[in-house]
């Protein structure tokens, strides 16, 4: 959301402005936000951080311990000297480059999966909250979907569709949709009883304008909080799928894939598992801390519930 949009929204709903300002002062929001901003910076600047192409390998540089200097062959067939900051794997690939480029995959999966789950969840939630005949059918369907553990849905869908970045994102987003739907539906049901909505209805405002003009803006704060948590679990789930060997193809540098490759020789070379593991844990931690901070400041009702 850019500054202009934020300003117009704040003018319309003064309560939000103080909440946003509170959020920006909150220590958790700042800590999580700074760490995440750093990670986004790393993801964008990956080629300039002393990395090589993460798919490059060299048979002479297999299983190097962190900090060792070795050879690596470029795509042009040229051999260059390279310092393996985090060591190399059993193909002779640079773990550091793979971990740094892995940041791109994890962050985009987290962002896109949560946006997708939010979009579908908002659509379903508005439908269920507004269209009476749809409510029963849709919510029973969501109950059933929620009864299947998320990881199993994702695993089965990826297995059926064959793994690619798009299918993994969709497969991770689907099990998150019911929770968003429930949240939006409950918000719709409570907001539509507010006097200002009644006033709008009695003035003859069309339903779609009430939905998008009155109800949705009031869902923004809880949805952002929910979206942060979905982002954290999406990043975790993608890593789990890759780690189990059912996620993205092994040549794509993702933290889960690096760990899956490193687990075979874990006894001798634990760093292949630990470096990506630390990045993964720190990323998820940062997103969760940001989410907790946003929850406490933007959505005090939810803060009380947990």
């Amino acid at each position: 959301m850019d500054a202009a949009a934020l300003a117009t929204e704040s003018a319309a709903v003064p309560r939000h402005e103080s909440a946003w300002r509170r959020a920006r002062r909150n220590a958790s929001v700042r800590l999580g936000g700074v760490v995440l901003a750093l990670l986004v910076g790393v993801a964008i600047a990956a080629p300039w951080l002393g990395t090589v192409d993460p798919t490059l390998f060299d048979a002479g540089s297999r299983d190097l311990v962190p900090g060792k200097v070795g050879d690596i062959t470029t795509l042009e067939g040229e051999t260059i000297r390279h310092r393996f900051l985090m060591g190399s794997d059993s193909f002779g690939r640079d773990i550091y480059s793979r971990v740094i480029y892995g940041t791109r995959v994890s962050l985009s999966v987290g962002l896109l999966a949560s946006l997708l789950a939010l979009a579908f969840g908002i659509a379903c939630g508005l439908g269920a909250g507004y269209v009476r005949w749809l409510d029963g059918v849709l919510m029973r369907f969501m109950d059933g979907l929620m009864a299947i553990p998320a990881i199993l849905i994702a695993i089965a869908l990826v297995a059926l569709w064959h793994a690619s970045l798009a299918t993994v994102i969709v497969a991770i987003a689907i099990p998150e949709i019911p929770r968003v739907t429930r949240l939006v539906r409950s918000l719709v049901l409570s907001i539509r009883e507010e006097p200002y909505v009644e006033a709008a209805v009695s003035l003859g405002t069309p339903t779609w304008r009430i939905m998008f003009g009155h109800i949705l803006p009031n869902c923004v704060a809880p949805l952002i909080v929910q979206g942060t948590y979905i982002c954290a679990s999406a990043i975790l789930l993608e890593a789990i799928l890759s780690f189990l060997g059912v996620g993205l193809p092994p040549d794509i540098p993702t933290w889960g894939n690096i760990m899956a490759e490193g687990r075979v020789q874990f006894n001798e070379y634990p760093h292949n598992v630990f470096f990506p593991g630390v990045f993964l844990a720190v990323t998820v931690l940062a997103v969760n801390i940001l989410g907790d901070g946003l929850r406490d400041t933007l959505d005090p009702k939810m803060a009380k519930r947990v």
Binding site: A147, V246, G277, V284
Partner: protein, 313 residues
Amino acid sequence: MLQYIARRLLATLPVLAIVAVLVFLLLRLTPGDPAAILAGDAASPDQIARIRVSLGLERPIPVQFGIWVSHLLHGDLGESFYFKIKVSQLIAQRLGPTLSLGALTIAIAVLVSVPLGTLAAWRFGGWLDRALMGFSVLGFSIPVFVLAYLLIWIVSLKLGWLPVQGYRPLADGAWPFLRHLILPAVTLSVIFIALIARVTRASVLEALGEDYIRTARAKGLREARVLVRHALANAAVPIVTVIGIGIALLIGGVVVTESVYAIPGLGRLTVDAVLARDFPTIQGVILFFSFVYVLVNLLVDLSYVFLDPRIRY
């Protein structure tokens, strides 16, 4: 009471039915021939034809669903083409290790998190409270397989206290059985501890603000008794509820943990089945896990009556 149980059972049926429909549709809504997918990549045309007939795949979708459900109600989940036995048999074989792991995990988690959560609420804002809340954010964030390798590295490789991987059935003796399960169960219990401790803390904190706590203290009850008999007892319903919801986390964790620690349970079976693209087994395992999840939560609902005498139906 009986009426309540009957009503809850009836309310569970639609959820189970929808789970069944979703698992059924998983294969039918995917491009490709379901019979060919179910028969596996190495199947002969003859085998594919046999599956097509037995599932009635040339008939309309609702009829297919009827056939599928009637198989399901007879306990027939199809045959695994990878393991070459019935899926129901396969699940029965793999159930033991998973049940042991799950039970030990929940036991550890409850024994650790409920006392800690209660103490944190009792000294609200104190060092234990802050440490526990910090730990719970960490517990939610650290991926279970990263934690697993960290523990293997420290406890098994560096200290040499416990075996790295593997599983021994209880028939081999209690100690070998436990020795192999302790590390996986501790790994898996961390996220559970985070979850239960948070809820215990929040609900005990709420109970501590009630008038009956003030009364209990005023009449001179010992603080321990106030905490356990009055505060914790009144916080039991949310705690049990979150354990029920947490079963979904546990199932996800089991899939990963069994894979890391090489435990031949249902979680490991799930991953093996996916890697072999063994769809009868995948379907069977998903159905089984989801039904267990729904039934555990049904039991949780029913337990409210015993945990809170104020609840009457």
